[in-house]
Amino acid sequence: MSNASPEAVKGSHRVSGATLFALSARRVTKRFPGVLANDQVDFDLAVGEVHTLLGENGAGKSTLASVLCGLYKPDEGAVLRNGTQVRLTSPRHGLLNGIAMVHQHFRLVDRFTVAENVVLGHRRLPFLLRASALESQVSDVAERFGLPIDPRATVGELSAGQRQRVEIVKALYQGAEILLLDEPTALLAPPEVEKLFETVRAMTAAGKSVVFVSHKLGEVVDISDRITVMRDGRVTGSVKRGEADTRRLAELMVGRDINLVRRLSRTAKGEPLLSLDNVTWHRHGSDVVKNISFNVSAGEIVGVAGVSGNGQRELAELVTGLQVPSSGSIAIGGVSINGIGARRVRANGLAYVPEDRLGTGLAPSLTIVDNLVLTRTRGFFVNRRAAQAEAEVFITKLEIKTPSALTQTRKLSGGNAQKVLLAREIFSTGDQSRIIVVCSPTRGLDVGAVETVHKLLDEARSAGKAVLLISEDLDEVLTLADRILVLYRGEVVHEVNGTSVDVEAVGHAMAGLS
C-alpha cells in the first residue's frame, strides 16, 4: 500500500514533546453575515487523540471544523499544523497537509463502486485503473482500521453507516493523518455507532488523530480523550478523559443566564385546539417520531425544545398534514385530520411558518403580494387587489423595509422576509387561523428582528390563538413558551409546566441524559 499515504506531510509522525500538537487553532474568528460563528477560539489536537467538539446547533463547532480542514478561511487567527502556521486555501489543500473532514452529508458518487469512490480524486492514481488491484488496496486500508466493506459494492445500495465507512476509508486512502468527523453518529443506528467507535479506536491506535464534532453528549464521553465544549461561538470549557462529568458538560453546553425575561400568557388558556394522541411515524423502518401526545390550547404557546435532528421537522410536517402518521391521531378542535392533506388542514384553521422561509414558506421570485395570496383560499381567479391592500397594511404596521408591495421576496432581508411570512400566517384575513405552528422563526435574524418576531407570537397568543413553537434555540423557547416539551430521538423525554423552569433539567433532557 505504498500509495495510500503519499501526500502525508513529512514530519507528521514525529511525535515529539508534549507541546507539539498535530493541529491547533489560535484565536480563530469567523463571521458570517449577521452571525459571529467563531469568536477567538483556541483548540488543540494531540497526535493519536480523540478530541470532541461538543455544543448545541449553532454553537460554532462545525464552523471551527470547517476552518481546520480548509473549507473556510478564518477572518482572524491562525491554524497550526505540527506547530507551524498553515494557510489552508481549500479542502484539497487541507488534505495535502494530511487533514480530512467527513461531512454530515456524504460526498459520494452513488453509482460508483466503493473502490471507485475511494480512489476518485487521488492525485497519484495511475492512468490505467485495474479494478482488482484498486479493490485489494481499498480492502487493505479498510481492514487495517476495522472497517469491513465490500469494495465491489455499489455505494447507492449501501446504508448510511456503510457510506460513512466509505468516506472514512477514502480519507485514509488519501493519506489523512487527522480526521474531522462532523456529527458522525447523526445518521447511524446504535449498533453502527458502536462499530464507528471501534474504527475510531483503531485509527488512533495507528497514530491518527480524530476530531469528533457532536451535540450528543451521552455518546461522546466514552470515546473522547478530551472534550471541548462550545457555546455561542466561544469555548466554554475543556475536560480530559476521566474528568468528564456529564452534568458539568451539560451545563457548559446549554447552561445560560437564567435572567431571561420570560413572557408568559397573561390570559387564561381556553379550549384545547390541537391535540396529538400517541402519534408515531416511521421512516425506513425506524421511528422518527414516537408516541407523542400533547395538546395546545387557545391562548397558550407550547414550546418544543431539542437539538436539531431529533424529529422536530417531521413533527411539524405531521401536524400540518404534509405527512400522515403511521399510527396515532392528530385532531383540530376534536376532529381528526389524519390523511386529509395539507390544504384541508389549513382550511381547518392551522397556519404554518416553516423553518426554511425563503424556498418553502415564501416563493422567492414572487412578489410580497403574490406570497400573501399563497395560503388564502382562492377561487378560479386570484384576487390580488385585496392582497395588495393587506400588504400595504402589513408593510406599515410591521415596518417591513421594502421598496413596494410588488417587490420580490428574495430581495428582502431575512428579518423582513420573516415578517411577511408571519404576517401572512398569523394575521392574513383570508383564513382565520386558530392554530399556528412555528419552526425556528428567528434563525439567522438580527436582534431587532428577533424582538419583532417574538412580539408577534406573543400578540397571537393574546389574541387567543394556539401556538406550537418548535425551536432549536432554547432561549427562545424559554422566553415565550408557557409549557415546554423536550424532544429527543423522536420522543418527548421531558415536560415542563408552570412558571418555574429548571433550565439544567431541560439541558440534560436535550442531551439525552434523563
Binding site: F32, Y72, S90, P91, R92, R107, L108, V109, D110, R111, F112, E116, V119, L120, G121, L125, P126, F127, L128, L129, A131, T154, G156, E157
Partner: protein, 312 residues
C-alpha cells in the same frame, strides 16, 4: 426472396450504424460530463458540408475529414461557452445550434447543391476475404474509418470504465460537487469532453458525406440521423458497447424499409418500421426511469444542470 439481399441490407445497416456510433459516442462523452447537446443534427450537417466543400476543392479525403472534425469542435465550443461558462439553458442552446447548423450548411452548400460527391472513401481491399459469403460483405467490405469507429467504441468504453480520466468524467456527470471538492475543475472536464464529443460528431458528418452520400443535398444528407444518435445514447444507457449493439439494430431497422421497397414487398409499411427505433428507445427510457434502474443505470444524475459551487 433472395437471401443475399438481406446480407446486403445488413452490410448497409452496418454502414449506417457507423455514423450512428460515431455521433452517439460524441454524445455519450458530452453527456457523461453532465452536458446535454441537442445540436448534433446541426453539427453533422456542418461536418458533412465542410467535408464536401473541402473534398471538392482539394480532392484530399483526409484534409476534408480533418476540417469536418474542426468544425464539429468549433460548434461544440460555442455550446460549451454558452452552457458551462455562461450557464445558459442547455436545451435551447442545442436547438440554436441545430438551426444555425442547418441554415449555414444549406447556405454555404448552395453553390454545390446537387453536385456529385467529389471524392469517396474507398473500402479497404481485402482481396478474397470480401468474397466469402455473408461474412465478406458484412465484415470485409468497409473503409478505414468504419473499422476505426468500431475500434473507437471499444476505446471509449475502455476510457470510461478503465482509466483515471474516465473515472473523473463519470463522477463529473453524476456528482460534480464531489469532483470539485477533490480539487478538479468541473468546467475543465466538461469543456474537454463537450469539445471532444463535437470532434466525433463532426467526423461522423464528414464521413457520412464522403462514404455514403452521393451528392450534396442538405435535406437528404443526414435525414435526422443526429436525432437518432441522441435516442441511441438513451437506448444504450450511456454505454459505448451497448451503443454498438443499438446502432446495428437501428441501422438495420432504418435500412430494411429500402430493401423491402426494392424487393416490392409490402408486408410492413416502411414508415411503421422507421418508428421502431424511437419506440424502442422510449421503452428503454421508461425502464431506466424505475427507481432502482435510475439509481444505477440512468442518465448522468446532473445531466443538463449547470454546476455552481455551493458557497456559504
Amino acid at each position: 426472396m433472395n437471401s443475399n439481399v438481406w446480407v446486403l441490407t445488413f452490410a448497409d445497416g452496418i454502414s449506417i450504424a457507423t455514423t450512428l456510433i460515431l455521433a452517439s459516442l460524441g454524445a455519450i462523452l458530452t453527456e457523461r460530463s453532465g452536458v446535454i447537446n441537442l445540436g448534433i443534427e446541426g453539427m453533422l450537417l456542418m461536418g458533412a458540408v465542410t467535408a464536401f466543400l473541402v473534398g471538392d476543392g482539394t480532392h484530399n479525403i483526409w484534409l476534408a475529414l480533418f476540417l469536418a472534425v474542426l468544425v464539429g469542435m468549433a460548434m461544440a465550443t460555442v455550446h460549451a461557452v454558452l452552457t458551462i461558462t455562461l450557464r445558459s439553458n442547455q436545451i435551447v442552446s442545442g436547438l440554436a445550434l441545430v438551426i444555425f447548423g442547418t441554415g449555414l450548411s444549406q447556405f454555404i452548400g448552395k453553390s454545390v447543391e446537387g453536385k456529385p460527391r467529389p471524392v469517396r472513401i474507398e473500402p479497404i481491399d481485402f482481396g478474397a476475404l470480401s468474397d466469402i459469403p455473408i461474412i465478406g460483405p458484412v465484415v470485409f467490405n468497409h473503409d478505414p474509418i468504419t473499422y476505426l469507429t468500431w475500434f473507437g467504441a471499444l476505446i471509449a468504453s475502455w476510457y470510461l470504465f478503465r482509466t483515471r480520466p474516465g473515472l473523473v468524467l463519470r463522477a463529473t456527470g453524476d456528482a460534480p460537487a464531489t469532483v470539485d471538492a477533490q480539487g478538479v475543475s468541473v468546467a475543465a472536464v466538461r469543456y474537454a469532453h463537450t469539445i471532444a464529443g463535437g470532434a466525433l460528431v463532426g467526423l461522423a458528418g464528414g464521413w457520412f458525406m464522403l462514404a455514403r452520400g452521393t451528392a450534396w443535398s442538405q435535406a437528404a444528407t443526414t435525414n435526422g440521423i443526429g436525432w437518432i444518435a441522441l435516442a441511441l445514447v438513451v437506448f444504450a444507457a450511456w454505454r459505448p458497447l451497448r451503443a454498438i449493439a443499438g446502432a446495428v439494430l437501428f441501422g438495420f431497422l432504418l435500412q430494411v424499409p429500402y430493401t423491402l421497397q426494392g424487393q416490392q414487398i409490402r408486408i410492413f409499411p416502411p414508415e411503421i418500421l422507421q418508428m421502431l427505433p424511437y419506440l424502442a428507445t422510449l421503452a428503454v427510457l421508461v425502464v431506466l426511469s424505475t427507481p432502482r434502474a435510475r439509481r444505477l443505470l440512468g442518465a448522468p444524475t446532473m445531466l443538463g444542470q449547470p454546476f455552481v459551487r455551493d458557497e456559504r
